[in-house]
């Protein structure tokens, strides 16, 4: 009976992983051909010219995602701390409700909302607006992860800190949060991976850019946007670049998450679970 | 709770009572031997001495085991202490019976003579004290134990009287010195028995009340 269960579990795992592997393999097959250093470091060239690339899109995504993290992570952790440590009561119910609603908002609606609130006011597209949209989308995931990981820290750890005469807020920040950090970082990475591939919100906010741009107040290229642009174009050359871009996007996301995991695991003390 | 422990305590009490019975019987036999001049009764006392010693050892071992295994506290601890001490006192009572029997053997070998010493009465009082102390032990009655303490004075007085009487006899009739001496020693042994009864009574009071009345005059105990 045990072996049957093990076999079943193995089969389920395979079934789950299969589409992932299939996608990855397909991307490699379709896109590897267009990969080159020029592709990775150059900005797009008009159709017909060779040597075009997604370098500016990679840079732009990095900037936009950086802004998103700056917005989403502190707010998300803050909300999570609020819910876990000072929970109970009407405020918590409200915060949780808002977070759930935010989670359910379609990404394109988020984009339109930021368009109306920010882009229209400023009268221009910008990486800031794009970062804002993505940042807001990160909040619910980070909040949920923070709250759950904080609640998992045993009460005895908190009491130990309080018993030493450490103030309550300090206990939360330096002890409880520090203990829960690995899980919180996982939550942040989940949120990051989700928004890193979002295209729709960026359509009306960052808008995209054919050229290199480091000014956050100007329209900025982003990798998903660029892939989208190439994909819906009628040009074969651009189609191949779209495949390659998709491959690069996945590799970059997976790579970033892996890097963060490796860096933070080096900081964890030996001997903890 | 602790039924097993309670049963052990009850069993210990029972064994002490049985041993007390043997000690009382020994005194009784020795005094009857004195009255009736029967050497067989003395032999019985000598034989039963072994049984008394065995019983003392057994009670000590049981008490030690209970102390080690059950970690008794408060009243239980005081009870076991009372058992151990009374155990020793009763064994000494057995020894006193042997001493009396030895004196009686000598008296039987000597010519019979009437002396001014009411040994049977003194023996009756001492034996009664032992009995009362043990009854106080059985029922955990501190009042009864206190009465035993009061009776000790009477026995002490009787011992003193016999001492003076025998002293007078030895001066007036040197031929009777051996008998007088033996009689005096028997009285002394009986006085010791009364002392042991007093010790047992004091142990009962400490067990029941947690009040240490040893070496204090009764008036100070209040």
């Amino acid at each position: 009976m045990d072996r049957l269960a093990t076999a079943g579990a193995g089969a389920a795992a395979f079934v789950v992983m299969a589409p992932l592997i299939a996608i990855f393999v397909y991307l490699v097959v379709r896109g590897a051909g267009a990969l080159s250093w020029a592709f990775l470091f150059n900005s797009p060239r008009p159709v017909g010219e060779s040597g075009g690339g997604i370098g500016n899109a990679i840079a732009g995504s990095a900037v936009i995602l950086g802004i998103a993290c700056l917005i989403g992570v502190p707010l998300g952790i803050g909300a999570g701390v609020c819910l876990a440590e000072y929970g109970g009561g009407r405020l918590s119910t409200l915060v949780r409700f808002v977070a759930d609603v935010l989670n359910g908002v379609p990404s394109i609606v988020m984009g339109i909302a930021v368009y109306a609130l920010v882009v229209v006011q400023q009268k221009h597209f910008s990486a800031l607006a794009g970062g804002l949209a993505l940042g807001i989308m990160m909040i619910p995931t980070v909040t949920r992860a923070t709250e759950e990981m904080l609640l998992m820290v045993p009460r005895s750890i908190r009491e130990a800190a309080l018993g030493l005469g450490v103030a309550e807020w300090r206990t939360v920040v330096s002890v409880t949060l520090r203990t829960a950090l690995p899980g919180v970082i996982t939550g942040i990475m989940l949120a990051f991976a989700r928004v890193a591939g979002e295209t729709a919100p960026l359509l009306f906010t960052a808008f995209g850019n054919q050229f290199w741009n480091w000014n956050v107040n100007q329209p900025t290229a982003a990798l998903p946007l660029q892939i989208y642009t190439y994909a819906i174009s009628p040009y074969d050359e651009w189609h191949r670049q779209a495949w390659a871009g998709a491959l690069v996007l996945i590799v970059l996301i997976v790579g970033t998450v892996a890097l963060v995991r490796w860096v933070t695991s080096r900081g964890v003390m030996k001997g903890t679970g | 709770m602790r039924t097993h422990f309670q049963e052990s305590l009850d069993s210990l009490k029972g064994k002490l009572l049985a041993m007390a019975g043997m000690a009382e019987a020994a005194i009784d036999a020795a005094v009857r031997a004195y009255q009736e001049r029967v050497p067989e009764l003395c032999s019985k006392v000598f034989e039963n001495e072994v049984m008394i010693n065995l019983a003392e050892r057994e009670i000590d071992h049981l008490a030690l085991d209970l102390l080690a295994m059950q970690q008794p506290m408060a009243v239980d601890l005081r009870f076991i202490l009372a058992i151990i001490k009374s155990n020793a006192d009763l064994e000494r009572v057995g020894d006193q019976a042997v001493n009396i029997a030895e004196r009686v053997m000598e008296l039987i070998a000597l010519p019979r003579v009437e002396l001014a010493a009411d040994i049977p009465q003194m023996a009756a009082m001492s034996a009664q004290m032992i009995r009362q102390a043990l009854e106080a032990f059985i029922s955990g009655n501190a009042e009864q134990a206190k009465r035993v303490l009061e009776t000790d004075d009477v026995v002490d007085r009787m011992n003193q009287e016999i001492f003076l009487a025998m002293d007078k006899t030895m001066h007036e009739c040197p031929a009777l010195i051996r008998q007088a001496l033996d009689t005096l020693l028997i009285a002394r042994n009986l006085e010791r028995v009364a002392d042991h009864a007093t010790n047992i009574a004091e142990d009962v009071i400490f067990w029941v009340r947690g009040a240490d009345v040893r070496h204090h005059a009764l008036a100070e105990e209040k």
């Binding site: 009491e159 030493l164 450490v166 300090r170 950090l181 003390m269 | 408060a74 009243v75 601890l77």
Partner: protein, 253 residues
């Protein structure tokens, strides 16, 4: 040096349920005072009132006064955080901070309160670990090993060192050895005996033999009330109250 504690008419509630009823007792300085009683009698609650930890539970309430040295810790304007620096606590289940090294654990009380001078921290950590009889076992692994990687007995001694590092005047111990094996328990008891020269120690224990071994004075609690409080040997040989006697002889509890 340790301080004496004077508890006057202490009452405590969890919401509507009263957990402590009018407790008054004098706890002498530089002695070990044990608090015994059956489960639910309020002994843990009592001890947690001595360092104002009781009120960290939602809907918990305290009335009455606890005077340590000459100050009432429940007086107006007294900060609970400040109280907890003067009254340390060691809990039943060892609770070292898992995300910190041994060194950081011991130094936590100081570092988290803003004290960062390196050399002095080193001295304090070593001194505290020596007092907790743990220094020799961990001195080579101070910064590399996490607090949670030690054995149960060592973890508890680490928690003791951590509490001692902030130099409290009173040390509260809530069943400190109940989760430990006999040898660790014996080490902790030996430690308590040595610590009382410098600290006033209040220890909650459900193990009467432990109270008998380590405590100078013992208080018996039942249903939130203090039934009897006296020298330890008196409580265990000639207690006055029948309820105390029934408890120490194991007739109930």
């Amino acid at each position: 040096m340790g301080m004496s504690l004077s508890v006057r008419q202490l009452n405590a509630w969890f919401g509507r349920r009263q957990a402590l009823d009018d407790i008054t007792m004098e706890i002498p300085a530089n002695q070990v005072t044990a608090i015994i009683g059956p489960s639910g009698c309020g002994k843990s609650t009592f001890v947690r009132c001595l360092n104002r930890m009781h009120e960290t539970v939602p809907e918990a309430r305290v009335e009455g006064s606890v005077i340590i040295g000459s100050r009432n810790i429940y007086g107006n304007g007294v900060s609970p955080v400040e109280v907890r620096r003067r009254v340390g606590m060691v809990f039943q289940k060892p609770n070292p901070f898992p995300a910190m090294s041994i060194y950081d654990n011991v130094a936590a009380g100081l570092k988290l309160n803003g004290f960062h001078k390196r050399r002095e921290l080193d001295e304090v950590v070593e001194h505290a670990l020596r007092m907790a009889a743990l220094w020799d076992e961990v001195k080579d692994q101070l910064k590399k090993q996490s607090g949670a990687s030690l054995s149960g007995g060592q973890q508890q001694r680490l928690c003791i060192a951590r509490a001692l590092a902030v130099q409290p005047e009173v040390l509260l111990m809530d069943e400190p050895a109940s989760a430990l094996d006999p040898i660790s328990t014996s080490k902790i008891e030996e430690l308590i005996f040595q610590l009382k020269a410098q600290y006033t120690i209040v220890i909650v224990t459900h193990n009467m033999q432990q109270a008998a071994r380590v405590a100078d004075g013992t208080g018996f609690f039942l249903l939130g009330k203090l039934i009897e409080y006296d020298a330890t040997e008196k409580i265990f040989t000639t207690p006055v109250d029948k309820r105390t006697e029934d408890y120490v002889t194991g007739r109930f509890g």
